[in-house]
Symmetry: C2
Subunit: 334 residues, 2 copies
Amino acid sequence: MDKKSNYRIIDSQFWLMKVLVYFLLATLFSNLLFGQTTGPEFTVIPLGVLGGGDESNLSSYMVAAGVSDNFVCLDAGTIRFGIRRAIEMGTFRTSESSVMRENIKGYLISHPHLDHVAGLIINSPDDTDKAIYGLPFCIDILKEKYFTWKSWANFADQGDSPALAKYHYVLLDSSLETKIVGTDLYVRPFLLSHASPNLSTAFLIRNNNSYLLYLGDTGADSLENSSRIMSLWKAVSPIVKLHALKAIFVESSFSDEQPLNRLFGHLTPSLLMNELNQLAAFTGKNSLHNLPVVVTHIKPSEKDAVNKIKNELASKNSLELKLVFPEQGIKIEF
Amino acid sequence: MDKKSNYRIIDSQFWLMKVLVYFLLATLFSNLLFGQTTGPEFTVIPLGVLGGGDESNLSSYMVAAGVSDNFVCLDAGTIRFGIRRAIEMGTFRTSESSVMRENIKGYLISHPHLDHVAGLIINSPDDTDKAIYGLPFCIDILKEKYFTWKSWANFADQGDSPALAKYHYVLLDSSLETKIVGTDLYVRPFLLSHASPNLSTAFLIRNNNSYLLYLGDTGADSLENSSRIMSLWKAVSPIVKLHALKAIFVESSFSDEQPLNRLFGHLTPSLLMNELNQLAAFTGKNSLHNLPVVVTHIKPSEKDAVNKIKNELASKNSLELKLVFPEQGIKIEF
């Protein structure tokens, strides 16, 4: 081997090193850049956060992919008043009507109890054409009980004649992901039990490789004689382990003082933490460390309920979840 | 006749005159006293005053006999938020829960559209036992569509099992006055037409010899091909002539700019004034002079709707009615 060929080997080794260094630097800069410029995977604007009787603040959460202006509404208890509050908070800079008509691209309804649909129905005369997504049990009740010409004009595309067809019912299938038209989001539904035999739904929302899980009202598996929450945890545990699940929205309607026989298909802090420990049993405790758990549907009829429930949850948070208490009109990013 | 007997006659005439003077003075003082100390015949506290999509301010009016603390609620679109506003305004000095549970003795529902019943239904879990009064068409829809265990638990005493029987349905009869239990009020219902064939109700409320008339949503007779408002005016014209009718609550949902084929069973200022002129044709114009007409159900979705409707009504007020625009939580006395 002559001197020249030796140089060639050194040259080639040098070239390889150079490529490696460039690659590492590129990766490093890309990560730095990525960390600095990548926005959230999900933007959530709560339009209503409470259970119970306050008509101005009932369950409804606008969710967008990243920082998009195109939202789907998860439940629709309060719409108009929630948008007004969001505008007052500076979260939106347009009109109430424009947010409802232009920014909300569709509604995902977890279950048809009035406190989860009243805002949608009451505002339907002023709304634009869009889809209402739900499992068949839920859409059936919207058809039979609300958009009926008896309790309200039929603004949907099925049910009692004439169907005005402003809203298009889209039946979800538990075994499939469904695209949310007008957004970059996809949804897969899971059945929940809410004072058996009443049903409710959890929605697993996907943006690219990131997920957000929203549970509608639900009782604990133990009290509902059900394994629906367990099945949900099994299904989502792989994405939890990969840290692809960015947040869980789940209810804690009552404090631990509420008697177990008066829960009406709802959770308390203890029951919620029990269920989340079941999830940890699948994923390992570390996978849940710092996972945002957004606590929904607190019933304010109980005196000082919000603080009581906050304290009870904090005292039982051995999983070190990041507990989030949403406020009407204030944006949350995940 | 001797001199003495002459004196007796003069004495007796004098005595008669004295009695007459005392009587006239007593009557005068009594009237002055009466005018100063007699309170109102009706106290009304609006819990929600608008039509349209604002979940926090939908039709609902608490009405009491005189200054009693015992109210009946005319419609129940917004309950909890309206009570909160009334407390903020100093109208009530107790808790939200106590006003709903103790001061509201029953609900009179004009028609079962969601914007007239949502507050009642959503707050039913926290309410006390009481009656829901309505015409059969209305109670039937409450039974079939709302308190069904599908859209809401059945807190009423009829309909889908189990009937929890917190609420007692009372069927009204158009030919009868019905006592509002827990108050000194009586009610007689009159059918209205609200986008035919949909029905609605006017309630003629009586306290002693005074009356208050509340019309639920209604279209104009001419556009509804109906004579229901005409029949109502005929029935109430005797009490209007006696000035025993203290106020009329009636809707003007849209401004005069709304096309007639897009009224959906509602009134505009022109249509409302036409109808009131029909009443004047029965009673004479002078009988309506200064009669309080409380304008309800303005739909705020139209830009600046409230001012537009106020101006249109004022410009057409040749009857010199006392136009009243109710505000949420602020007491009105009649």
